[in-house]
């Protein structure tokens, strides 16, 4: 239960094409992450799946059934909003019960579902508080709890952690991963944070300008990016790109550069010592900026010329069309 298919989805707002011919297969039970730069259409695509928006053309199928024309409520999906969208005048318990009450579910059943979800998310002491009396992380849990009690076939999450501070984001990320493992339900998770994407995803969908650039597992994306855009977008710090005389571009990740004789000569602009490793910002012979992340603590001076080695196996080559070769 919970396999989602998109077939040739287009979406335009007036004259602006926001989603351009997207076809996707989201396998049941997997956690799929939509990632891409701001404005690339991640939220729009998620809203099309949820039923809050209608595609201009194309089909959406859930478990093989065409749901394109079905209302949001009839798709059996639950959404967690970036702003949480908790009803401010209702208690946590009422917030979680609200959706279930629409279905004429017996009171006892509603109560037991809320209790179970509250225990799972460790929010049972908060049930009688209002959202305004909760911290950001607690609100986040409540928003997830409100989705869980509906027992949806799939969860849709639009940047659920973006309003939290860095530390809490890390904890909640781990909890979400654990939650996905426990529930085993399909989840679609939107983020523009590629660390979140790498750590959470079973499968990542990289979007740019309303087009799917690549779909694969996090490690495959990292190791074999299909084009220059994906190569630059996935992985931190960003991959270095160096033009070659034959018109191709070579890509090499900062982690794959190391100090050693006979490599690329690089003039140092600046070095940042992080303790375990050092980030060296520099310039190649023909003036291209280059970043190296070398292990240990090195302290080169500005203007020093270092030699940086790499293994040919770690180098990526992209043609003039940007595609991997």
């Amino acid at each position: 239960m919970g396999a989602i298919e998109l077939e040739n989805i287009h979406k335009s707002f007036g004259a602006v094409d926001v989603i351009k011919d997207v076809s996707l297969n989201i396998p049941e039970g997997e956690l799929t992450v939509f990632v891409g730069p701001s404005g690339c259409g991640k939220s729009t695509l998620l809203r099309l799946i949820s039923g809050l928006d209608q595609p201009t053309s194309g089909r959406i199928l859930i478990d093989g059934q065409d749901v394109t024309r079905r209302s949001a409520a009839d798709r059996g999906l639950a959404m967690v909003f970036q702003s949480y969208a908790l009803y401010p005048h209702m208690s946590v318990r009422q917030n979680m019960a609200f959706g279930l009450e629409n279905t004429r579910m017996p009171r006892a059943e509603i109560a037991s579902r809320i209790e179970e979800a509250a225990r799972l998310l460790e929010i049972d002491p908060l049930l009688d508080r209002r959202p305004g009396q909760l911290s950001g992380g607690q609100r986040q849990r409540v928003a997830i709890g409100r989705a869980i009690v509906r027992e949806p076939t799939a969860f849709l999450l639009d940047e659920p952690l973006s309003n939290l501070d860095a530390e809490l984001r890390g904890t909640m990320r781990a909890e979400l991963a654990a939650l996905h493992g426990r529930l085993g339900k399909t989840m679609i998770y939107v983020t523009h944070d590629q660390i979140e994407a790498m750590t959470l995803a079973d499968r990542i969908v990289v979007l740019r300008g309303g087009v799917v650039e690549q779909v694969d597992t996090p490690l495959n994306l990292f190791n074999a990016p299909a084009n220059r855009f994906v190569a630059g977008f996935i992985g931190a710090p960003k991959m270095n790109f160096l033009p070659r005389p034959d018109g191709r571009t070579m890509g090499i990740r900062p982690q794959h550069l190391r100090l050693g004789e006979g490599g690329l000569p690089v003039t140092v602009d600046m070095a940042e010592n992080l303790g375990a490793e050092t980030l060296i910002h520099g310039r190649s012979e023909d003036g291209h900026t280059l970043l190296a992340m070398v292990p240990g603590q090195v302290t080169p001076e500005r203007g020093d010329v270092l030699s940086l080695q790499y293994d040919e196996a770690d180098a990526h080559y992209f043609g003039e069309d940007g595609l991997r070769q």
């Binding site: 209302s71 639950a78 969208a85 009803y87 005048h89 209702m90 609200f98 959706g99 629409n102 509906r150």
Partner: protein
């Protein structure tokens, strides 16, 4: 700087004034310090407030304890609480004819009835209008202007416009005649005249309250509605469980403001019906005005006493409003 010359001459008097005031102002500040300057700048406003509000308020209280028909306080004999006693002298407050001043109690009950109908109907209509205007309808700004426009009219103009429409040979009856309907005596029938006053007042003021409610509706985050949509919440449940509770602070402010204004109903109704037919649309303010100035047997003291009683009602309503707005302010 082609118009520099003209500006120079136009502002000359101001510059002259500023220079002339400079010396005395500096002298005043030297003598009294900053506190004195603050007092000086507040003085004009306080003077106007005193002349037009504070002093008349006190004088009104004095008038209410004096008798006779003279307008100068010095010529008026002290009568103590006699006017109040007269106004409150009643066998049955619900039955104006059993009261010594039956007109006062007719005005009280007319006003009460007016307030209930006017505030009730207006709040409802304003609410519905705001809900419609809050949707994506074509020419939204135009409709918003249409509903707000009457608020900008002077009450006398409102009264006149509607008298022309509703009088025996007015537009309304002409239109009804054209449609083959019997003409109605809108302004000379006891029943219709009262509701004409209510309706015209609703028309004249609802734009303001619609705007307050619309602002409240627009402050409700859209994603709350989307969350409700994901849950398949029926529209009326969305309204009762989400829209209405979140709009409640605005709705309360609207109710209390509308109450305060409805109690003071005078100009547009007076121009529209003149209080008639009979006494069917005579409200408190008209009673005060007529018994103080217009009647053959004018009694300024009685009018002053009645206006103090009305002021008490308004003070209570205003305190409610202050309390509500402070509470709403604390929530945010």
């Amino acid at each position: 700087m082609s118009n520099g010359g003209a500006t120079h001459y136009l502002t000359a008097p101001l510059r002259w004034l500023a220079r002339a005031a400079d010396v005395p102002l500096r002298a005043w500040q030297r003598m009294t310090g900053q506190g004195g300057m603050i007092a000086l700048f507040l003085l004009p406003n306080m003077a106007i407030f005193s002349i037009f509000v504070l002093i008349p308020l006190g004088m009104n209280a004095l008038y209410s304890t004096t008798g006779g028909v003279e307008f100068f306080l010095a010529d008026r004999p002290y009568v103590g609480g006699e006017h109040y006693a007269r106004l409150m002298d009643c066998e049955n407050y619900l039955e104006p004819r059993s009261c010594r001043d039956d007109m006062f109690w007719i005005a009280v009950w007319n006003t009460a009835r007016f307030v209930i109908f006017q505030v009730g109907v207006m709040t409802l209509v304003a609410m519905i209008t705001a809900l419609i205007l809050n949707r994506a309808i074509p020419a939204k700004a135009f409709w918003r202007a249409v509903f707000f426009f009457p608020v900008l009219l002077s009450p006398v103009v409102v009264g006149l416009i509607w008298r022309w429409i509703l009088q025996r040979q007015g537009l309304a009856n002409l239109a009804m005649f054209e449609m083959g309907l019997e003409p109605v005596n809108w302004l000379t029938d006891r029943f219709w005249a009262f509701f004409a006053a209510v309706g015209v007042s609703v028309w004249a003021h609802m734009g303001f309250y619609t705007l307050i409610l619309l602002a409240g509706l627009q402050a409700i985050p859209r994603d709350l509605y989307e969350a409700a949509e994901m849950d398949g919440t029926p529209p009326f449940r969305v309204f009762y469980r989400i829209t209405l509770p979140l709009l409640m602070p605005n709705l309360l402010v609207v109710l209390v403001l509308a109450l305060i204004r409805a109690v003071q109903i005078f100009d547009e109704a007076y121009v529209l019906t003149g209080g008639g037919p009979g006494t069917s649309t005579m409200f408190m303010t008209q009673y005060i005005y007529e018994s103080g100035f217009a009647n053959l047997l004018r009694n300024p003291g009685l009018a002053a006493a009645a206006s103090i009683l009305m002021a008490l009602v308004l003070v209570v309503l205003t305190l409610c409003q202050l309390w509500l707005s402070r509470r709403a302010g604390g929530d945010r």
